[in-house]
């Protein structure tokens, strides 16, 4: 019970912090979002202290989301420096 309330307070504080640092760039905002997500996953979704297979599924999904984004960005982001093949 206390765990939930403390988590919620942390989430609200972090969200408010995001508002104030939003001008410092997207990376910082996303980093704060990652911390918030970890709190929701660990405490609200009970990943902390449940079966290992739950954590494996969660981490696996995260890895593949990152993989897809990276693969696409690796293309779009490097077309200026290493453009597409032109015969």
């Amino acid at each position: 019970m206390k765990r939930y309330l403390l988590s919620w307070i942390a989430l609200v504080v972090l969200a408010t912090l995001s508002l104030f640092v939003s001008t410092s760039g997207i990376a910082l905002s996303l980093a704060i979002a990652t911390v918030k997500a970890a709190i929701v996953a660990a405490f609200f979704m009970h990943l902390w202290g449940s079966r290992p297979v739950h954590r494996i599924v969660f981490v696996t999904a995260v890895c593949f989301i990152v993989l897809l984004i990276l693969g696409v960005v690796a293309d779009v982001g490097t077309r200026d420096i290493a453009g597409p093949y032109v015969p």
Partner: protein, 524 residues
């Protein structure tokens, strides 16, 4: 004990059954219809290609046919066939369970499949689509045909696939009989498990990409529209992120079947259990790192192309590990040349050849020449027909006695296996030559110099199609007239052969005895 086929009786007890074995058979009927339909589309295409110029059918019809052939074969046959039929039937028995983790979700997955298939067929009758099964933007957005219904149908078929995969993963983790560790599992289970991970992770991305195409076409969403600054190549990224791992959904279960055949018909333990088990996971994982090799000439950056080219080389390592392990399993074994084993050897030969041509087209500089030619078509048909369909045929023969309690006619099956091999090679070897000589794929007409090879390919297709019809015929006859089978006609150590043929509804009359492993042929 009454077997699962006989009790309970009545059509409603089948259509509403949550028994994994009955659901497997319903899937078998459905995917067989899909195979026949997809095959019919192919026969029509090959008939047009008997002549080099216009005639026999309209160009738009031809474009529709290759689209429907791809959609039907990939999403209604290749993806579900081995998992939803043999995975469904065998997985619970192989882990010592009475059913899957979620039997009602299993039945629901079948009806979702039917809904998706029905929508796809309705979309085809309605005149859609002519984009190819790959739905590339911007043509898929601009096509005058009705793209959205088939695209949404693929989404629905994907949902069925996810439900199946989810069920298999949960079953493997949670329903293994007491005392069965991961390293005691039959290797077919490892193959199905690896396949299921791909299904659960990759399929949603396909669902998203076809939904975006449907919305672009029907609602002018403009996600990939160049006039609004959109990038059509991004569709290809999303599409292939699923569709490359999808080919591993198609081949991993096939490899699982092959792995079951080798120990049984050589009466020898698998050369290396861990090699097969871990290479299945390896293929599933590395298969996700290679999708860009479908896009080498699409306009991606050369850096991205280089990365994907290198990654594509790695996945072959795991396939090679398997091929050598299978051959090593046979070495010094006591080999029985039954029909399933003829399909085994067909698989080894055609898969190895097809796999090597895969490495060839994954070589960026070479793909520049071969991309979008018949070389690529030949490559993937070697894997899909020579690999997956061959293994599917092997499986239906191997497990026929278990599933139906009857034997198929061995002489007809041997004849059929030879016919498949000959027909297949006559159809697709010319296509390697055509592609290398420059004939593009998805072309309605072609220059006269490609004529002879096209005629040869079409005649091979007619032979292959005839043999397939013949196979279906004798298997159906065997259902009713086949010799009654014993529990273990092959003398296999596999777990599924320790229950009656056909099995009772709850699979086991007594719990599985794990003291004898499923590949232990060196002791009694």
């Amino acid at each position: 004990m009454i077997d699962y086929l006989r009790a309970p009786s009545g059509i409603r007890s089948w259509l509403g059954s949550i028994d994994h074995k009955r659901i497997a058979l319903m899937y078998l009927v459905a995917v067989t219809i899909a195979l026949v339909l997809g095959g019919a589309f192919a026969m029509l295409m090959r008939t047009k290609l008997l002549i080099s110029g216009p005639g026999i059918m309209q160009p738009l019809t031809y474009n529709r046919l290759f689209t429907w052939h791809g959609v039907t074969m990939v999403f209604m046959f290749m993806i579900p066939a081995i998992p939803a039929v043999f995975g469904n039937f065998m997985l619970p028995i192989m882990v010592g369970a009475k059913d899957l983790a979620f039997p009602r979700i299993n039945l629901a997955s079948f009806y979702v499949y039917c809904a998706g298939a029905a929508l796809a067929l309705w979309g085809m009758i309605h005149g859609g689509a002519d984009t190819g099964w790959t739905f590339y933007s911007p043509y898929s957005t601009a096509s005058p045909t009705d793209v959205a219904p088939i695209a949404i149908a693929i989404f629905i078929l994907g949902v069925s696939s996810i439900m199946t995969g989810l069920n298999f993963i949960a079953t493997t983790h949670m329903l293994r009989v007491k005392g069965m560790r991961w390293m005691d599992l039959p290797l077919f289970v490892w193959a199905i498990y690896a396949t299921s991970v791909i299904q659960v992770i990759a399929t949603p991305v396909l669902g998203l990409s076809v939904t975006l195409v449907a919305m672009d076409h029907a609602l002018h969403m403009g996600m990939f529209d160049p006039t609004l600054g959109g990038d059509p190549v991004l569709f290809q990224h999303l599409f292939w992120f699923y569709s490359h791992p999808a080919v591993y959904i198609m081949i991993l279960p096939a490899m699982g079947v092959i792995t079951e055949l080798a120990p049984t018909f050589a009466r020898k333990n698998v050369l290396s259990y861990k090699a097969i088990a871990f290479s299945s996971l390896g293929i599933a994982f590395v298969g996700f790192l290679t999708w860009g090799h479908h896009m080498f000439v699409a306009g991606i950056s050369q850096l991205d192309a280089a990365i994907f080219g290198v990654m594509s080389m790695f996945v072959a390592i795991f396939s090679a590990i398997k091929v050598f392990t299978w051959l090593g399993t046979l070495y010094k074994g006591s080999i029985a040349l039954t029909a399933p084993m003829l399909y085994f050897f067909t698989f080894i030969y055609l898969f190895a050849f097809g796999g090597m041509t895969g490495i060839a087209v994954a070589t960026t500089s070479l793909d520049v020449h071969w991309h979008d030619t018949y070389f690529v078509i030949a490559h993937f048909h070697f894997i899909m027909i020579g690999g997956t369909l061959t293994a599917f045929l092997a499986a239906i023969h191997y497990w026929f006695p278990k599933m139906f309690g009857r034997m198929y006619p061995e002489k007809w099956a041997v004849l059929s296996a030879v016919g498949v091999f000959v027909g297949f090679n006559l159809t697709f070897v010319p296509q390697f030559l055509l592609g290398n000589a420059g004939m593009p794929r998805r072309y309605y007409s072609y220059p006269d110099r490609y004529h002879v090879l096209n005629v040869c390919s079409t005649l091979g297709a007619y032979l292959l199609g005839s043999v397939m019809v013949f196979t279906l015929a004798y298997l159906i006859v065997a259902l009713f007239k086949g010799k009654r089978a014993t529990a273990n006609p092959w003398g296999s150590r596999g777990f599924e052969w320790r229950v009656p043929s056909p099995p009772p509804t709850e699979n086991f009359e007594a719990p599985l005895d794990l003291r004898l492993g499923c590949y232990e042929y060196d002791r009694e």
